[in-house]
């Protein structure tokens, strides 16, 4: 019998309980893809606001998307808040999220609603941040270089081996950069730019914000990232100056979606409406989030890059967010750019 007990206990531990039954009232499983502090603050503030018990799990947007896809048959999350817009659009395309039209819509910036219409109301914009680059002032001075102000400056020969960006195959940030160049300069000239830039790149990192972290610790001079990430480095104390390129630039729209088949649909919608209010969005001031919020009445941080002074392109999220176009551009980048000798 001893053996049975052993085998049984191994199995007992392994199978154990499962979350089979229906959830109790007033609970929300919150998937969050912004930074930890912000996620915590949103979760706690919503608990205070509504009395709903919030279970928050923080993962990057790519990880959350992969998890939702794996959980498709039996969704565990209710709402997905934060993270760059592409995976949200992808989730809408793969029918992992639920359409919802919030009564809060008329308070939002047009770009936030444009994000919703491009995905048949399955997602909505909550913040936006422009693409740009940041440089390490100390390394720049040591090398005696003039500060770069435009995309073109980064292709100058004196920046050889001094620029870092993420690999568009692995990072949404870098894919935004690629799509931005294509929209800014046109497809041929855009790829030509990427090729010239390729000659100066010292490393294609895997994660999108890694280049500016490397610039912070002095491992590279310039990092191509979203500007709010660069500002966060400066605020953390690193010698980083962020630059909004003179030619103009693209941007991301941080989004929010309701999980299709959510077990707590009412709470999810309540959160959705609340997260679009000016009060909830102004919380970003407390946590070093330097994005521009989507509610027109929300205040953004004074350290945030001033969007009105940045030349923003008319970024076509519907076209460049679709998986076909993404696949085509990435394949082209793979074959024409990444194979070139550096």
């Amino acid at each position: 019998m001893r053996n049975t007990t052993l085998a049984a206990s191994v199995l007992a531990l392994s199978t154990g309980l499962s979350a089979g039954g229906a959830m109790a009232d007033g609970k929300l499983n919150f998937y969050c893809s912004a930074q930890e502090e912000w996620c915590q603050l949103m979760a706690r503030s919503f608990e205070e606001f509504s009395g709903v018990d919030v279970d928050m799990t923080r993962k990057s947007s790519g990880e959350t998307f992969a998890q939702m896809k794996a959980e498709e048959a039996n969704p565990k999350g209710d709402i997905w808040w934060g993270g760059t817009g592409d995976p949200h659009l992808q989730a809408a395309e793969e029918d992992l999220t639920e359409p919802y039209v919030s009564p809060m819509r008329d308070q939002l910036h047009p770009w936030a609603i444009a994000q919703a219409t491009s995905a048949n109301d399955k997602t909505i914009g909550i913040y936006s941040g422009a693409l740009g680059f940041g440089y390490n002032t100390k390394l720049l001075a040591d090398a005696g270089l003039t500060a770069p102000a435009c995309w073109e400056d980064l292709t100058k020969p004196e920046f050889k081996g001094k620029v870092q960006m993420a690999n568009p195959n692995s990072s949404g940030t870098a894919y935004t950069a690629l799509a931005t160049m294509v929209q800014l300069f046109g497809e041929e000239a855009g790829f030509d730019y990427m090729k010239r830039l390729h000659a100066n790149i010292n490393q294609y990192t895997k994660s999108g914000s890694a280049p500016i972290k490397a610039a912070g610790t002095g491992e590279t001079t310039v990092g191509i990232v979203f500007l709010h990430d660069a500002v966060a480095q400066t605020v953390a104390g690193f010698p980083i100056v962020s630059v909004a390129p003179c030619e103009g630039t693209g941007y991301e729209i941080g989004s929010m979606s309701i999980v299709k088949g959510a077990r707590n649909m009412d709470e999810a919608k309540k959160f959705y409406d609340w997260a679009l209010t000016a009060e909830a969005q102004t919380l970003s001031l407390q946590v070093n989030a330097f994005q521009v919020m989507s509610n027109m009445a929300a205040t953004s941080s004074d350290k945030a890059p001033d969007m009105s002074t940045i030349k923003l392109i008319d970024y076509d999220f519907t076209k460049y967010g679709s998986s076909d176009e993404r696949k085509r551009l990435l394949e082209k980048w793979d074959n024409e750019v990444s194979t070139l000798p550096q």
Partner: protein, 718 residues
């Protein structure tokens, strides 16, 4: 009997908050959410559970018969086999939305009912079917009718199938799914021969494919870690070195280090703006370069990180080599070098082979170091991760890459078997064996000391730097000393109602320790039982089973994480979002180290030890417990230490399995690193390192050392 209890009493389906026993008052046994299977059937619900009654009843009929009776065995096999098969079939066939497969709806019409994940009732029934089945086989004469061995084989095979094969097959199946959702072999080959996997560009100025990079790196890491592991083991057992205990602690340091920390420390030491780089640049007036990024950096970091595993395997084997054989060689006038080369070293082969295999596999599956230090040197593990979570969301590519990786591992596995061959490495026998290990021959003593010393110093330097990093404001920029990071993470305040853990790290800290403590003994037990079965018993399919136990270790954690969600987020086993899934993933992921260490040690134990025990009337369970287990202390220690530590430091599998209530230390640390809170991340890591050092010390005390009846080499007068 247990099966009946499960069928009659316990709720068949999973119940939230089982241990509050609220379900006892809340409508049990009638409410269909909580009812045991028998009540469900009596009420006419879930009728598909009924056939199992037959299978449970059958064994009762033959209870009275003697074990040698042919009918006894046959009935047990049929009943157990049918019951288990039916249980699995109904579990997989009927899911949350009725029938799980389209063809079943076509065949039987819509079911109009559904079921949730199995609970304790289903679990007990499943294990009793399994036991009945194995008992039946034993009665029919398999493995000499040994009930313990057949039950153990049955149990291990069943859980490995459920928690290793099932999820991984599910994941790898994605390799054949084409973009539009259909199955396609052509698509598979198209993606398989991708230039990014197999390209040979590094001979012409660009980059090689990830497969070649990984293979090359893994071989180098395997060789280096095995050599270093052997060197440290030699210093510890065959030299007059005085500070052996501190050396032991030093060698385990790297496995108890959370991911990213070593990489970060290496960057701050040797990166473009690193302390050492700047110093060298200043003194020798050379231009600082980014040499660290890419192959060299990963190689250094992985060698640092995986040498301890090789050491843990080697130490048991080096200690186990019989001094009598070495003394015999010396009596026959071999000098120390000849003895070492022709007797000691060949006897260490199982250790060398297993250590190499572990280093190779670890390097293949390692994710953290390539991520931080990889530069443009792509390896399979990072490619897989970003195929899943990156901008392409290409699960089939991830599955294909995982297959390539598994292919290499399989290759290494068979190479290792081939190299070991069919020779015998037995050195621990029942005979008196009271020799003393000879010290190392001079010819190798000098280089061994030199290498061990250099590597030891290097490790100390890296670690001092890490500890220093947790006390400064902003690592690498602002060097003012501060306690602020520890305060944020581990603050404790005294308020009403006693002590309050206000630090932000406590939650994940306690969860991590709890999960690691639960997982470690299970891992060790599973690992050693498996090792025992593999070395001591013969049964059909043993080789493929052996490789199967390595699978979950060889596959990068990311794949395991996604595979576990795919497999265990839906009935019959629905455990995502619980602590159980974390424990399970750790047990099956780290079990192979126990298996390897156990195999390496057990192949040194003479079979005559078991045989004499069996001849004297002990059964195989007693033999295992009283003879083999005590001789396996180094292997037990290795398995316990490794699984405990890995449960605390593993990251990639955990990313997908953590939930709000079960957050792990490593995912907290990663969150901090992403948020530029390097100080906090390192402070937390440092705290974890000390906790683990303490735990490892305690484990060492608890398990004790093997006393093989030899004089200790210290009192031997050297």
């Amino acid at each position: 009997m247990i099966g009946w209890a499960g069928f009659l009493l316990l709720p068949w389906y999973g119940v939230e908050d089982f241990y509050t026993f609220k379900w006892l008052l809340d409508g049990w046994p009638m409410d269909s959410d909580y009812a045991p299977a028998i009540m469900l059937i009596a009420q006419g619900q879930k009728l598909w559970l009924a056939p199992m009654l037959l299978a449970l009843a059958a064994p009762l009929l033959v209870m009275r018969r003697r074990k040698t009776d042919a009918i006894y065995g046959k009935v047990l096999i049929v009943a157990g086999g049918f019951g288990f098969a039916w249980l699995v079939a109904q579990g997989l066939g009927i899911g949350l939305r009725g029938y799980a497969y389209g063809w079943m709806i076509a065949l039987f019409g819509d079911l109009g009912d559904r079921q949730f994940g199995m609970g304790y009732g289903g679990l007990l029934v499943a294990s009793s079917f399994l036991f009945v089945f194995t008992q039946g086989i034993a009665a029919r004469g398999a493995v000499n009718g040994d009930v313990f061995v057949t039950a153990a084989i049955g149990g291990v095979v069943a859980v490995v199938t459920i928690f290793v094969f099932f999820p991984i097959t599910k994941m790898l199946g994605a390799a054949f799914i084409s973009d539009d959702g259909g199955y396609s072999i052509m698509e598979f080959f198209g993606k398989f021969v991708d230039r990014r996997i197999w390209g040979l560009g590094c001979f012409s100025g660009t980059n090689c494919g990830a497969a070649w990079n990984s293979l090359f790196l893994a071989i180098l890491v395997g060789l280096l870690t095995t050599t270093l592991g052997l060197i440290f083991a030699l210093v510890l057992t065959r030299s007059g070195f005085k500070y052996k205990q501190s050396l032991r602690a030093l060698t385990v340091l790297p496995i108890i280090t959370p991911p990213f920390v070593i990489g970060l420390a290496l960057i701050l030491l040797f990166g473009l703006s690193g302390t050492v780089t700047q110093w060298v640049a200043g003194v020798f007036d050379v231009q600082p370069t980014r040499w660290l990024y890419g192959m060299p950096g990963i190689l250094i970091a992985q060698t640092l990180a995986f040498t301890p595993i090789a050491f843990l395997v080697m130490i048991g084997v080096v200690e186990g080599v019989s001094p009598s054989m070495e003394e015999a060689a010396q009596t026959l006038r071999a000098n120390r070098w000849q003895t070492f080369r022709t007797v000691s070293l060949p006897l260490m082969r199982p250790g060398l082979a297993n250590a190499f295999l572990l280093g190779f596999i670890e390097s293949m599956a390692d994710f953290g170091n390539p991520l931080v230090l990889g530069g443009n040197f792509d390896v399979l593990s990072t490619e897989i991760f970003f195929a899943i979570v990156g901008a392409q969301y290409d699960q089939s590519r991830a599955a294909i890459l995982a297959m390539v990786l598994l292919g290499f591992t399989l290759g290494a596995f068979y190479l290792q078997r081939f190299w070991l061959g069919k020779k015998s490495y037995t050195t621990v026998t029942g005979k008196g064996d009271s020799g003393v290990h000879p010290p190392m021959p001079k010819r190798i003593a000098l280089p061994v000391y030199a290498i061990a010393g250099t590597w030891g110093l290097f490790t100390i330097m890296v670690y001092c730097y890490i500890i220093y990093g947790s006390f400064v404001q902003l690592w690498g920029v602002d060097d003012t000393l501060t306690f602020k990071h520890y305060m944020t993470a581990f603050a404790v305040t005294w308020g009403d109602g006693g002590m309050r853990w206000t630090g932000s790290a406590w939650d994940s800290f306690f969860t991590t320790i709890m999960i690691a403590t639960i997982a470690a003994p299970f891992t060790a037990v599973m690992g050693l039982i498996t090792a025992y079965l593999l070395t001591r018993q013969n049964f059909a399919g043993k080789r493929s089973f052996e490789f199967g136990t390595m699978l979950s270790f060889a596959i990068p954690g990311t794949v395991i994480g996604v595979a576990y969600i795919l497999a265990f987020n839906v009935p019959p086993i629905e455990i995502t979002g619980t602590g159980i899934i974390l424990v399970v993933s750790f047990v099956f992921r780290n079990m192979p180290v126990g298996v390897r260490a156990g195999i390496a040690s057990m192949s040194q134990l003479d079979k005559s030890l078991d045989e004499s025990s069996l001849t004297l009337g002990a059964n195989s369970w007693q033999t295992f417990r009283l003879i083999i287990l005590p001789l396996l202390r180094p292997a037990i220690l290795a398995a316990l230490v490794y699984s405990f530590v890995r449960a605390m430091t593993a990251i990639s599998a955990v990313i997908f399995l953590v939930s709000a209530r079960y957050d792990m230390a490593t995912s907290y640390i990663i969150g901090r690193v992403e948020n530029n809170d390097y100080g906090l991340a390192i402070a937390y890591s440092t705290a974890l390192i000390f906790v683990m050092l303490f735990a490892v010390g305690m484990l060492q005390l608890a398990v004790g050392r093997t006393k093989i009846g030899r004089r200790s080499s210290n009192s031997g007068g050297h």
